[in-house]
């Protein structure tokens, strides 16, 4: 197992290299010019050219990529063109809100979605099953921002239970922290709950038709024991896979959710950087997201062995 982990970690290095090259090339080819944005409307073409030169944007592709890659290899993500702040500092400022939002969404979604999926599978074809699937379809098809606006209108503006927007760091107290995140997490969780509930139901239905489930029932095991001890554990591998894949969904959803609720997270940082063509920030954040995704995939692979002892690496 340890050897497998080491191999996977080592494989991460070339993967990140390819991602870095891809991201850099994409931004190099993309239209837009940060120098023109910085120079503003007052600038002449000569002034734009001077700014471009001062930022090193007039250098050839290989020179720019080489310099950037060298700095990345030394742990330096560079400096934002616009704010003049280190990219690592900007990411550090923004990572707590995004991580908090994603973790809360993940935990709440799993706590709601898995029991719902199990319930729907156990009551297949009944009104309960249809209600759960209807909820799942709605959650999956309703845009995140619509859910966000509706929740904010009802629970913040009308009932005044939660703030409309903003983020309170955990250091500011647990309840203020939680209060600020409940609506965003509920918004972001809708699509995630729908996805996991559907997969849980499908996976459970497949497992529930297996012989060993019939055997368990035949020997007198109760419904709860059958569902949660025997069936769910064996249905867990596809669920864990979808939970892992769904993190990408969460990252995408976080961009919208952070904008709707004005949360100063990495999603908004990314959007702002893209709109301004702040290349070092875009590259840094995309690299971070890619790295996180690689790590999550590794964790998912390791979790397989926990749920299914037959899987060995």
């Amino acid at each position: 197992m340890l050897g497998y982990i080491v191999r996977r970690v080592l494989v991460t290095i070339p993967v990140m290299g390819v991602v870095a090259l891809f991201v850099f090339s994409l931004l190099y080819l993309a239209p837009g010019d940060p120098a023109a944005i910085i120079a503003g409307d007052q600038a002449s073409p000569e002034q734009i050219a001077l700014i471009r030169a001062s930022l090193g944007l007039d250098q050839p592709f290989l020179v720019r990529f080489g310099g950037w890659a060298w700095r990345i290899a030394h742990g330096d993500l560079g400096t934002s063109i616009f704010t003049n702040l280190p990219v690592a500092h900007m990411i550090a400022q923004r990572i707590e809100p995004t991580l908090s939002l994603m973790l809360l969404t993940l935990v709440v979604s799993l706590l709601i979605a898995v029991p719902l999926g199990v319930l729907a599978a156990a009551r297949q074809g009944t009104a309960v099953d249809r209600a759960v699937m209807l909820f799942a379809v709605l959650g999956f098809s309703t845009p995140v921002f619509v859910i966000g606006y509706l929740l904010a209108y009802v629970f913040a503006l009308r009932l005044d239970w939660f703030p409309v927007q903003g983020y309170m760091p955990l250091a500011g107290g647990f309840w203020p922290f939680l209060r600020a995140l409940i609506l965003p997490a509920a918004t972001l969780g809708g699509i995630y709950i729908a996805l996991i509930a559907r997969i849980t139901r499908a996976s459970m239905l497949e497992v529930l038709s297996q012989d060993y489930i019939r055997t368990a029932r035949a020997k007198g095991l109760g419904q709860r024991g059958v569902l949660f001890v025997h069936a769910l554990k064996n249905a867990a591998v596809p669920i864990v896979t979808v939970v892992g894949l769904g993190v990408a969904l969460l990252i995408g959803g976080a961009v919208v959710t952070e904008s709707v609720f004005a949360i100063p997270g990495l999603g908004r940082l990314t959007v702002d950087a893209i709109l301004r063509r702040d290349y070092p920030v875009i590259q840094g954040v995309v690299l971070l997201f890619s790295f996180a995704y690689v790590v999550i995939n590794l964790l998912v692979d390791l979790l397989y062995t926990l749920f299914d002892p037959r899987i060995r690496y």
Binding site: P31, F82, G166, S259, R268, R276, D278
Partner: protein
């Protein structure tokens, strides 16, 4: 952990948070939602209005423009001008200090103006007439000019970017094409860099060492008296969220509510809504004059002949007719130089038959007209949709390139042929304040390669702008303005598409909100 232990811990966390909240509630804090994201704070390097607005809190200027567009002394006590207009001596007010505690000295002023003149258009004209700018002692400095420059005070006072902000000499020594590293000014508020979260939150704390002028405040003139200890800018990119936050009392003042949400805000108890800037904004259609068809003035005139400002403005502000007016002029309505002399091409019924004949005379033969459209900005998108329809009805082959403002900003700077990555036309808008004067209206300049994107070349327009610089009094300025308007609406470096206003909204318990081209924080209080 037991359930009760968990609840105790959570409650304890809440109790621990209480002093922090109480502290914030005790301080006099103004929570403000600015017009845009705030990414840097250099009043010379950064030209966005949002940067200018923040800079006005942190940095002071030697002179300040009042609501009558007259420059008044701000950091300066006064000045003396020689009879021939070639020597100007200025005296700084006593007691001026930077946020780091150091006194403001004349050599700080010299270094700051040197940096500013390298970037600012008016500053560059000043520099071209400058023999020397020198510090006489700590409190006095002198301009020695090769030729008179009657608009010197205006150049020092104007709030249009780039701002002639005064910073410490060591900071002002920064290359004008690079950002400054220290945000130290002598304005009424200190920028709290340690609390800055770019794109989310900007904090300013009151500068106790600031000594306001004794006169009443009037825009950038007079005493800048801060009635709040802290001003917190909260960047809320989503207008719906900003409106809800204002209704809920989570923010105090929203700089630019969109027209769609204004009826909702008007109905909200505890919220006030009014026009933000009496000088508003000016929409415009810009031509690339390097390539056909718009390198021929007749093609530009054909478009102006069918331009319907009412339609353009309805696309920008909706059905609220109080928010716009037609302007057959290159000057902002309501400002001293406004004139409609020569504006006939934008008045009266639109004549497509005559316009088509004018276009044919220009030799247009169905070539593609590349129109850059920033669809992420409602103002440019609305204007572009109307204009695309006009051009199509005129018989032009419109290539509607829908993209974002970042791409438009880069592509419009390219001088390549339209078919090879260049462009023919794009829409944008300028602040009304900028269009109040020939010197600050960038779209009016017609000095060819050095002109704004589109690169119009008209010696007549350039000559008239120079004449305005040299105009000794208001009468002479009005005379030049009329001639300039006639020349501009004949040559058409751009077509003005109309004048439009925007709203601001604030909590009803705020006092002292004024209408201005920028948020005026001094004099704003609560209760």
């Amino acid at each position: 952990m037991q359930r009760r232990d968990f609840l105790k811990a959570a409650a304890g966390a809440g109790v621990l948070a209480a002093p922090r909240l109480a502290g914030a509630a005790g301080a006099r804090v103004l929570r403000f939602v600015p017009q845009a994201n705030f990414a840097n704070l250099d009043p010379v390097w950064g030209t966005q209005y949002v940067v200018r607005n923040a800079s006005l809190l942190v940095w002071d200027t030697l002179y300040g423009l009042d609501s009558g567009l007259v420059p008044r002394p701000q950091m300066c006590e006064g000045h003396e001008r020689s009879d021939d207009g070639l020597r100007w001596d200025f005296r700084l007010r006593a007691g001026l200090r930077f946020h780091d505690g150091e006194p403001v000295r004349a050599r700080d002023v010299v270094a700051s103006l040197d940096r500013w003149m390298a970037r600012d258009a008016m500053g560059q004209v000043l520099k071209s007439r400058l023999d020397a700018l020198e510090a006489l002692d700590d409190g006095r400095f002198r301009f020695r000019l090769r030729a008179p420059f009657p608009k010197l005070l205006l150049a020092l006072a104007k709030p249009m970017p780039n701002l002639a902000a005064i910073m410490p000499e060591r900071v002002a020594a920064t290359d004008p094409f690079k950002q400054i590293g220290e945000y130290i000014g002598s304005g009424p508020m200190v920028f709290r860099r340690d609390e800055w979260v770019p794109g989310s939150r900007v904090v300013f704390a009151r500068f106790d060492g600031y000594v306001p002028r004794p006169e009443p405040s009037d825009w950038l003139a007079g005493g800048k008296r801060m009635l709040f200890d802290r001003i917190e800018w909260q960047i809320i990119p989503d207008p719906g969220t900003a409106a809800a936050a204002l209704q809920n009392g989570e923010v105090d003042w929203w700089e630019t509510p969109i027209p769609d949400l204004v009826p909702l805000l008007r109905q909200s108890p505890g919220v006030r809504v009014d026009i933000a800037d009496p000088l508003g904004n000016v929409g415009l259609l810009r031509f690339n004059q390097l390539y056909p068809p718009f390198n021929d003035v007749r093609a530009r005139q054909a478009v102006a002949m069918v331009m319907n400002q009412a339609d353009e403005m309805h696309a920008v502000v909706g059905s609220d007719d109080a928010l716009w007016r037609a302007m057959p002029s290159v000057f902002t309505p309501g400002t001293p130089l406004y004139t409609e002399a020569g504006g006939e091409i934008l008045k009266g019924p639109r004549d497509y038959t005559a316009a088509k004949a004018r276009l044919a005379a220009a030799g247009y033969n169905g070539e593609k007209v590349v129109m850059l459209v920033a669809t992420d900005l409602a103002i440019t998108k609305g204007q572009s949709d109307v204009t695309a329809d006009i051009l199509t009805r005129l018989g032009m082959n419109v290539d509607y390139v829908a993209t974002d403002w970042g791409t438009v900003g880069a592509r419009r700077a390219k001088q390549d042929p339209p078919a090879k990555g260049g462009w023919n036309i794009f829409h944008t808008w300028l602040a009304g304040l900028d269009c109040a004067l020939p010197a600050t209206n960038i779209a009016l300049r017609a000095n060819g390669p050095k002109a704004w994107f589109g690169w119009p070349n008209s010696e007549e327009i350039q000559g008239l702008i120079t004449r305005w610089y040299d105009a000794p009094d208001a009468g002479a300025e009005h005379e030049v303005a009329a001639a300039l308007n006639r020349a501009a609406l004949d040559f058409l470096p751009y077509v003005p598409t109309g004048f439009f206003l925007g709203y601001q909204a604030w909590r009803a318990d705020l006092t002292g909100i004024v209408k201005a081209p920028f948020p005026v924080f001094w004099g704003v209080g609560r209760g």
